[in-house]
């Protein structure tokens, strides 16, 4: 077994297998290896640290409960976990109706020191991050805007249209074109792996 901080997909797949067998230390090891990615995403979506901490625990609890039904063929472990993380965070956002508080917290967070690069982070993940960011940057600004709003806030297309003061058809078209461009740029590099 590799180090507890092992951050390769194979390590995580192995850990999930052990978690499914009821090995709690494997869940802790998976937590240690992936918590920064999961927490970073959750925090960005819900916008305050107290809620983010609760959602973080929910995510790993769900991993604990669902590990036995995780199927490698359906996707890489990290993609699976990040999907759970985003879903739980957006659920929380919607049920908490914390938009106002969130804006304030985000502004406060903006003054905090930026997250520095993690020297222990697997270079393969850092490389993927670079590729995805660059693909996102390559989009037209109005396409990036609608996609980011959809992704981070979980708003529906009509809510986005209202938020941006744009016609619904425009929002749909920009989302479609932006996502198709992202897909085109990312697919040859990432395949269907996260």
């Amino acid at each position: 077994m590799t180090s507890p901080q092992g951050s390769s997909e194979q390590d995580w797949t192995g850990l999930i297998g052990r978690i499914a067998a009821g090995d709690q230390s494997a869940l802790t090891a998976l937590y240690d290896g992936t918590k920064r990615l999961v927490y970073g995403l959750v925090l960005r979506i819900v916008g305050n640290t107290a809620t983010a901490e609760e959602v973080l625990l929910d995510v790993y609890s769900q991993v604990w409960r669902q590990a036995s039904s995780y199927d490698r063929r359906r996707g890489a472990p990290l993609a699976w976990m990040m999907t759970i993380a985003r879903t739980r965070a957006i659920d929380r956002l919607r049920s908490g109706r914390q938009e106002h508080q969130r804006k304030e917290q985000l502004e406060a967070a903006g003054n905090a020191p930026a997250a520095t690069g993690d020297p222990e982070e697997a270079s393969v993940i850092a490389e993927r991050r670079r590729i995805v960011r660059s693909a996102l940057e390559s989009l037209a600004a109005e396409q990036r805007e609608v996609i980011e709003l959809a992704y981070y806030s979980g708003l529906s297309h009509s809510e986005i249209a209202a938020r941006l003061g744009q016609p619904l058809g425009t929002v749909k078209t920009r989302t479609r074109l932006g996502m198709m461009k992202l897909r085109e740029k990312l697919h040859p590099v990432l395949g269907d792996e996260l």
Binding site: A20, A21, G22, Q24, T28, Y31, K35, R36, L37, Y39, G40, L41, A52, E53, E54, L56, L57, D58, Y60, S61, W64, R65, Q66, A67, S68, S69, D71, G75, A79, M82, T83, I84, A85, T87, I90, D91, S95, A114, A115, R129, V132, R133, L136, A150, Y151, G154, S156, H157, S158, K172, T175, R176, M179, M180, L182, R183, H187, L190, D192, L194
Partner: protein, 274 residues
């Protein structure tokens, strides 16, 4: 209504769905369409799902509070030690069909052994008393758990209401041999004779749906479909007919879309009622 090839409309719908940006109504319609088995839309959705997955990497990582690790460990320890509800003694009437079906299914070792024990065991007063104690502990642990979970508020209210009703029971529904943690829970509201069911499963294969079954000593009666969202989370409330007779278990099977009059597959998960 299956599509032959992708087009703007399909790409747009799949992309918006993958982002979670369709309206509720459109999303349910798309899911319904996928259950019919439209390969074109499935492929489009799969590729956009991968794209959305990749977007999660654009967020910078951040350190959670140090105490979260300890909190997680405590929480998992509680979930892990939540008692599996033991079975009361066997009734005098045996059901070979139920036992055979349960044996044929790849059920939890706990479930199979429990079924066997249940068919053969003698009634003991202390066993009953222990069961009551353990049920109360399970309910209390669940209430703690629920108060921390960020469950959808309506589901939460339903579950709490079921637990508050006198004589309420919780039935864990387990899937895999090696784990005692349930993939679904049935909260039995005795006074209104309803089951409040919450499940976290994998989304079923396309064109198929989860179906719930009341399993009695002699038959399996449909308890309705269990619709699940994209993450495999399902929630439903089921009326439990009061004249069901000897209710032994609840089972979840995968059936063709629309359900089946009788189960066509072995269960993916079973909860022993007793």
């Amino acid at each position: 209504m299956k599509h032959d090839k992708p087009g703007e409309e399909i790409e747009g719908t799949a992309a918006l769905y993958a982002l979670g940006a369709l309206s509720q109504h459109e999303a349910r319609a798309f899911e319904s369409h996928l259950r019919e088995g439209c390969e074109v839309c499935e492929r489009e959705l799969a590729s956009f799902d991968a794209t959305v997955s990749a977007l999660s990497l654009t967020v910078p990582p951040a350190d959670p509070p140090a105490r979260a690790r300890q909190l997680l460990e405590s929480r998992i320890r509680r979930e892990k030690n939540a008692p599996v509800i033991p079975l009361p003694a066997a009734k005098s009437k045996r059901s070979t069909s139920f036992a055979a079906w349960a044996m044929a299914a790849s059920l939890a070792a706990i479930s199979i052994l429990s079924v066997i024990a249940w068919l053969r065991a003698e009634q003991a007063l202390t066993d009953q008393q222990n069961e009551v104690t353990r049920l109360r502990e399970a309910s209390a642990a669940l209430r703690d758990e629920l108060s921390r979970e960020s469950a959808r508020s309506q589901e939460y209210e339903q579950i709490v209401s079921a637990l508050k009703s006198p004589g309420s029971r919780v039935i864990p529904v387990v899937a895999e041999p090696k784990t005692a943690t349930p993939v679904a829970e049935v909260y039995w509201d005795r006074s209104s004779s309803r089951w409040v069911i919450t499940a976290n499963l994998l989304p079923p294969p396309s064109g198929r749906v989860y179906q719930l079954w009341f399993v009695t000593a002699s038959e399996k009666i449909s308890a309705g479909l269990l619709e699940t969202d994209r993450t495999g989370h399902g929630f439903t409330v089921v009326d439990v007919p009061r004249n069901l007779g000897d209710l032994r278990a609840v089972a979840i099977t995968i059936e063709p879309s629309g359900g089946s009059p009788q189960p066509t597959t072995t269960p993916v998960a079973v909860g022993i009622v007793g």
